[in-house]
Symmetry: C2
Subunit: 325 residues, 2 copies
DNA sequence: CTGAAAGCGCTTACAG
DNA sequence: CTGAAAGCGCTTACAG
């Protein structure tokens, strides 16, 4: 049988209240002598605290629930590292719940699981809930925060890059390099995509460019490969891609049909993960700080007042050609 | 205040026992009429089960703890997907605990956390505990299973690829392609590395090759880049790499100094993730079935009798040249 | 098919 | 500094 505080109390001749105080370090409520004895006996017995019992009486568990969807993007590693690190600093555990791929049912189930565990906070990573789930979250009394997704609604916590800024910076950079026929590829049809389109079009407009070209996709390598086909008949000189994977797909498919990057086609990728170093040539990117997005989202959901947008930066590598004007 | 079964009982005029039976679907112990009423009222009140209370009385939580270390490898996604999927099929939640980077303290803390939660099983992914922690696990009464690591000890559950088979197959394939000067690069100094070395040397021996060449590393892209330098003075024609990232690093560093792959140097990578498609040329690999490793580890830890080794396969892509004999 | 009661292992005012 | 007692929200024999 697993030992409990009752066993420790019996062996050490004190009450379970005292054992509890020592074990949960209510400093100042016990003598050093008692502490030493209890700690020794606890160790002897191989005592382990029962978290369920603690959570039941405290009515809140020191755990942050992270809900992820299984999109084919690889950005989540950095985000989760950041979450994990910061959560651990704040004494919070992390529980990961998958929500499938834009699967409303699985998402709902994940949210319910988090609520049933009375977690201290819920982080929704690259997830867009429907109205019912949003209401459920709001009514739960448990703080929640969107991560890597900006809903632009009042009183809703979120931490992400500024998507409009991402694409407008990419346009600025490409125009600076002499490009005017600039496409946007692999974008999704939801909030993130919409915001990126807005920044892209604002960027074009600011430079007096009137032709835009937008292709949708799902962030994956395969999606990038397919998209290249659609660009073949068009005469763009540069493409901004919604992810490193999209960029890699376009790049490789382009090279297979004899289109050289950056000589014939320039690429600016959004994300800036290690993928950008692995391709040949390596990819110029608008780099997101995923680790920081993750760690800051923990602060946000734990009630610390931190900013929503985490800055991005352009990293110049080998996939953009400077054009003659 | 969050409603409890007591509130539902009061409103519906039955006892909390009956409410509990309905809510936990102890079929056959309640009438349809009672069920309907209780379900309706539970919904009206926005009732959520309190998992902590359930776990406390059941003395076991329907959760599998996955302990990961933060190695710079990218294989974990597939493993975790597999774990998540299979766990969900079996009605188990998944909690992820990080153990840092071969950090004994963090690992110990993660194990203790899992034990304190009385999880139904513990999965240690690419983790080697010290003797104290192994004893702790054994004495806990909670089943545990090593994932993507084979300890070769009796009565210890584990699911992984057969490391000896991985490298011996790689050697076989390279010899088949006419290579005899074959190196092994990026290997670790622990169990996995040792087993891969054994398979590599057995493979060489089987083909009467007496010269071996082994370089250690840490599975990362950067590690691969550094390793190429060490190969410069040597005259190997093929390298088996410990991970796709190592392969990518060697590949890119090689191309930068004018060594062509596969013309001047052949590469067989171990892992076979999407990285192999992204590099130029793409990488021939010994592909591990990470998804299956993950899902099978769940079966293993839940007491289903499944095999330890998940088969690997050689995937021929563009990084191996056939030599004249 | 249903209820009264005990109990899971802790924490925490309250009293001393 | 310590103890007795109540209670967190459930489940489950037991009895009917």
């Amino acid at each position: 049988m697993k030992p409990t505080i009752k066993d420790i109390a019996a062996r050490s001749g004190v009450s379970i209240a005292t054992v509890s105080r020592v074990l949960s370090q209510k400093t100042g409520t016990y003598s050093e002598k008692t502490q030493a004895k209890i700690l020794r006996i606890a160790k002897e017995l191989g005592y382990r605290k029962n978290t369920a019992a603690v959570e039941l009486v405290k009515k809140r568990s020191a755990v942050i629930a992270v809900i992820l969807n299984a999109t084919p993007t690889n950005f989540s590693t950095g985000v989760i590292d950041g979450i994990q690190k910061r959560a651990s600093e704040l004494g919070q555990g992390v529980i990961i719940l998958y929500a499938g791929n834009r699967d409303a049912q699985m998402l709902h189930k994940a949210i319910v699981t988090a609520l049933e565990r009375t977690v201290s906070g819920i982080l929704l990573t690259a997830i867009e809930p429907d109205d019912a789930d949003l209401t459920l979250l709001k009514d739960s009394g448990i703080p929640f925060c969107f991560v890597s997704l900006y809903l632009n609604q009042p009183k809703i916590l979120s931490v992400s890059s500024n998507n409009e800024s991402i694409t407008s910076q990419a346009v600025d950079y490409l125009v600076e390099q002499g490009h005017t026929a600039i496409a946007l590829a692999g974008i999704d049809g939801y909030h993130t995509g919409t915001q990126r389109i807005a920044g892209y079009e604002a960027g074009l407009k600011a430079h007096g460019i009137t032709t835009s070209c937008i292709k949708y996709g799902d962030y994956s390598y395969e999606s990038g490969r397919k998209l290249l086909q659609e660009f073949l008949p068009l005469k763009v000189t540069a493409i901004i891609t919604a992810s490193d994977m999209i960029a890699a797909g376009i790049l490789n498919a382009a090279q297979e049909v004899g289109i050289r990057v950056p000589e014939d086609l320039s690429l600016v990728s959004i994300d800036g993960t290690i993928i950008c170093n692995i391709t040949t040539p390596d990819l110029t990117s608008v780099t997101q700080d995923f680790y920081r997005i993750g760690s800051r989202s923990v602060d946000q959901v734990m009630g610390h007042d931190v900013e929503t947008f985490v800055p991005v930066k352009i990293e110049k590598r080998g996939s953009v050609k400077q054009l003659e004007r």
